[in-house]
């Protein structure tokens, strides 16, 4: 009897899925009309906001829009030429060579603030749910693991720091860098014979990093009149010291993610401190 009901459920679910599939495929293969096309291999970036992020001429585009209200973000004449050059162009808006970082931290920095909060609150929830868990899951490490962990730990941390410090120049950034450092913390837990959870320390570091992020935003609000404004000079694109608060925020994000994920791991490793 139970089996029959499962079959009926599965049948209806399958039916629903098939109907939805037809619905979706139909939509994807529709000509959208009016020059709007879902990307087929070569998106016309001049119809998207992102072209101005790539060209780093958002303020110009804003001026252009002010004059031609009906045709927005079709700044075609600007799209054709780009005078951005690595290592030479100075003070190009967000100023970071990595366009994704430009968008994540500068043009849409508010989303990243929310994203950091999502991670913060989910680790918080994890800690709350595993609060009663005092059991340590990991066995004591053998000599090989111990030696390896001691040897590798500084290199992994160094690599993580490199990734988030160069977030505005190379692939990577705060989130991957922080994750790498958290993996170093995991290695310590696995490799050290008497590892003590340092939840208090990670909490403090995390708070300070979060404070830096939100604080930089507030400084922008009070000096330049809008939250998360880049109030520092953005420098020459491609240098390590460039792109104003973008670099600083990514460093803060890196430290925060590292502290958050490490505290998550420690929370699973028996929660509270001795």
């Amino acid at each position: 009897m139970k089996n029959t009901q499962g079959m009926v459920n599965a049948f209806f679910a399958f039916l629903l899925v098939v109907i939805l599939g037809i619905f979706f495929f139909n939509a994807i293969n529709q000509p959208l009309g009016n020059g709007l096309v879902l990307n087929k291999d070569n998106p016309d970036l001049s119809k998207r906001v992102s072209i101005h992020y790539i060209l780093k001429n958002v303020h110009n585009a804003e001026d252009y829009l002010a004059q031609h209200k009906s045709s927005y973000f079709r700044n075609r004449d600007k799209v054709k030429s780009s005078n951005l050059e690595f290592g030479k162009t100075k003070n190009a808006e967000s100023g970071s060579a990595n366009e994704v970082t430009s968008i994540v931290v500068n043009y849409r920095g508010f989303d990243t603030l929310g994203e950091v909060t999502v991670l913060f609150i989910s680790i918080l929830g994890l800690g709350m749910l595993l609060h009663e868990n005092k059991k340590k899951y990991w066995a004591k490490p053998s000599l090989i693991v111990r030696t390896g962990a001691n040897f590798l730990f500084p290199f992994i941390v160094l690599f993580g720091v490199y990734v988030f410090v160069h977030g505005h120049l190379t692939p990577g950034g705060g989130f991957p860098g922080g994750t790498i450092i958290a993996s170093a913390a995991l290695l310590l837990i696995l490799g050290l014979k008497d590892f003590k959870n340092k939840l208090t320390m990670t909490k403090i570091i995390e708070s300070l990093a979060g404070l830096t992020f939100a604080g930089l935003g507030l400084v922008g609000l009070f000096t330049n009149g809008s939250f998360l404004t880049n109030f520092l000079p953005s420098g020459t694109m491609g240098l390590l010291v460039s792109s104003g608060i973008t670099a600083l925020i990514y460093i803060a994000v890196g430290i925060k993610v590292a502290a958050e994920l490490s505290s998550g791991i420690m929370e699973m490793n028996g929660g509270g401190e001795e």
């Binding site: 939509a27 709007l36 804003e62 809008s226 939250f227």
Partner: protein, 502 residues
């Protein structure tokens, strides 16, 4: 430039939330107070902003000095500020009760979750960017999970799990909708989407609307996505249910209003959702189904939390009907009823908390004789349920009248819908009066629980509001009228956001 400071409504709670772990190192009870004060700040500031936008018209707040459609902006209008204010107010009242609840080991984490949840709800009402809205919806749903599982019982975890499964299903759909939107329109800004939405092919547009609706229906407690409601409400503490219904539900319905009428709809007096599917009819059917399921499930329950949970589901259904009817009157009525529901339902949930403690059970059969033990609580419960049912001279009466009136004016097959609404009111009357009669039965209750003054304060404030709106509904009328105009006026929305480049 002044309006840019509205971002403090989001930035300050975030800053405080990041600092809370430090406060908790000093003292765990301190975090409760910090949360309370932060929400208090938000409430006062949003009240100020509400009056500002009522006087000066809609404003936008720019973030990062990038003007829309390139950067993220907040849209401050009578409609969004009204709901932000109400959300902060309800949260403030609930926190008043949370302050005096007995301390637990996880209070620090709980206060952070509450703070972030209220922040996220406010941010969802304010934001003018669809992806930003998605991020805050995620914060809202994750913190809601923490809130539900706070009670540390099996059923809380079941409810929380059910909620998070549905919420992440919904968020996948929301993100897919965002992908469809960005892929064709090339923008994420709401005003810019609204400006170009009717250029889209109807089939394609209806996929977007379908996915978006499905994504947000989890928060709005509408029919196919509300399986989490009974278990989550049962598993959570009674006063925290006021947050689930008064904040999460309100936010979900808010998003439906904003997206269906201003962004996807086609403007001005006759509002219709475009696409190859008639989404007005779809949402009316969903609303009616939700109402019927909610009311009849409530009828068969004995547990007060479940009764109130199903009743709040039913009210959400009624409000969804007004979105579908979509004429000026029904929008007015829908906004009014949403506000009334937030107040009355919060009152009921908060009253239920000391009653459960006095009686020692959430089962309404054991509530007999409470009127003799504590007449104040019994009367407050009666006031809340009168407000919800719509007894004349209580707040729900006016809004339900307006809903029926607006549906009548829509005509056609809407008479069936009127029948549903009236039937639901009848069923509601029946099960609430069943409880009220029990309260005033002459029977003695032994209990040593003493009700804290803060609970009395919270109940008193909400009861006064419920009665005051009932006696003098014109008190809110100007706000609601302006909010409805703001909601309907699509071209004004677009020109306010995009016309800032001057």
């Amino acid at each position: 430039m002044k309006s840019n400071y509205a971002v403090l409504l989001i930035a300050i709670p975030l800053l405080v939330a990041f600092l809370q772990p430090l406060f908790s190192l000093i003292n765990k009870r301190l975090t409760k107070w910090v949360t309370f004060l932060t929400i208090g700040f938000n409430f006062i500031y949003s009240l100020k902003l509400l009056n500002y936008v009522m006087a000066n018209g809609a404003q936008i707040a720019i973030i990062g000095n990038w003007k829309p459609p390139f950067g993220i902006n907040l849209y401050l209008s009578p409609f969004s500020m009204l709901f932000a204010t109400i959300i902060y107010f309800v949260a403030l009242i609930v926190l008043l009760v949370y302050l005096i609840d007995k301390p637990t080991e996880v209070d620090d984490r709980m206060s952070i979750a509450t703070l972030l949840m209220v922040m996220a709800s406010g941010a969802i009402t304010l934001t003018g960017d669809i992806f930003n809205m998605f991020v805050f919806v995620e914060i809202l749903s994750i913190s809601t999970v923490i809130l539900i599982s706070f009670n540390n019982k099996g059923i809380s975890f079941k409810g929380a799990f059910r909620y998070i499964v549905l919420a992440s299903l919904g968020s996948s759909m929301l993100l897919l909708a965002i992908g469809f939107i960005y892929g064709s329109l090339g923008t994420l800004n709401l005003a810019s989407i609204a400006y170009r939405f009717n250029l889209l092919n109807p089939v394609y547009a209806s996929v977007i609307v379908f996915l978006f609706m499905a994504g947000i229906m989890v928060e709005a407690e509408l029919f196919p996505f509300n399986a989490w409601v009974p278990e989550a409400y049962k598993g959570s503490k009674s006063y925290l249910n006021a947050l689930l219904s008064g904040v999460v539900g309100t936010t979900g319905i808010y998003v439906l209003f904003r997206m269906f009428i201003t962004i996807f709809g086609s403007g001005q007096n006759h509002i219709q959702v475009i696409g190859s599917v008639n989404f007005n009819a779809v949402i009316i059917v969903i609303g009616v189904l939700t109402t019927l399921i909610g009311e009849f499930s409530a009828l068969s329950q004995k547990d007060i939390k479940k009764i109130l949970a199903f009743s709040s589901m039913a009210q959400m259904g009624i409000i969804a009907v007004t979105i579908g009817v979509a004429n000026m009157n029904s929008i007015n009525a829908g906004i009014f009823h949403l506000i009334n529901h937030a107040f009355s339902k919060s009152l009921l949930f908060i009253v239920a908390f000391p009653i459960i403690n006095i009686v020692g059970s959430a089962n309404i059969d054991k509530w007999e004789g409470l009127g003799r033990k504590n007449i104040f609580l019994a009367i407050a419960f009666a006031i809340g349920s009168f407000g919800l049912i719509g007894i004349p001279f209580f707040n729900g009466f006016w809004s339900k009248m307006m809903i029926v009136e607006s549906v009548v004016s829509a005509g056609g097959w809407m008479y069936l819908v009127i029948g549903t609404i009236l039937l639901s009111a009848l069923v509601e009357t029946f099960y609430f009066f069943r409880i009220i009669f029990k309260l005033f039965v002459d029977k003695k209750i032994e209990s040593t629980y003493s009700v804290h003054i803060f609970i009395y304060l919270a109940i008193l404030i909400l009861s006064i509001i419920v009665i005051y709106i009932g006696i003098k509904p014109s008190f809110l009328a100007t706000y609601i009228h302006k909010a409805a105009i703001d909601l309907v006026d699509k071209s004004h929305y677009i020109s306010t956001v995009l016309g800032v480049i001057k």
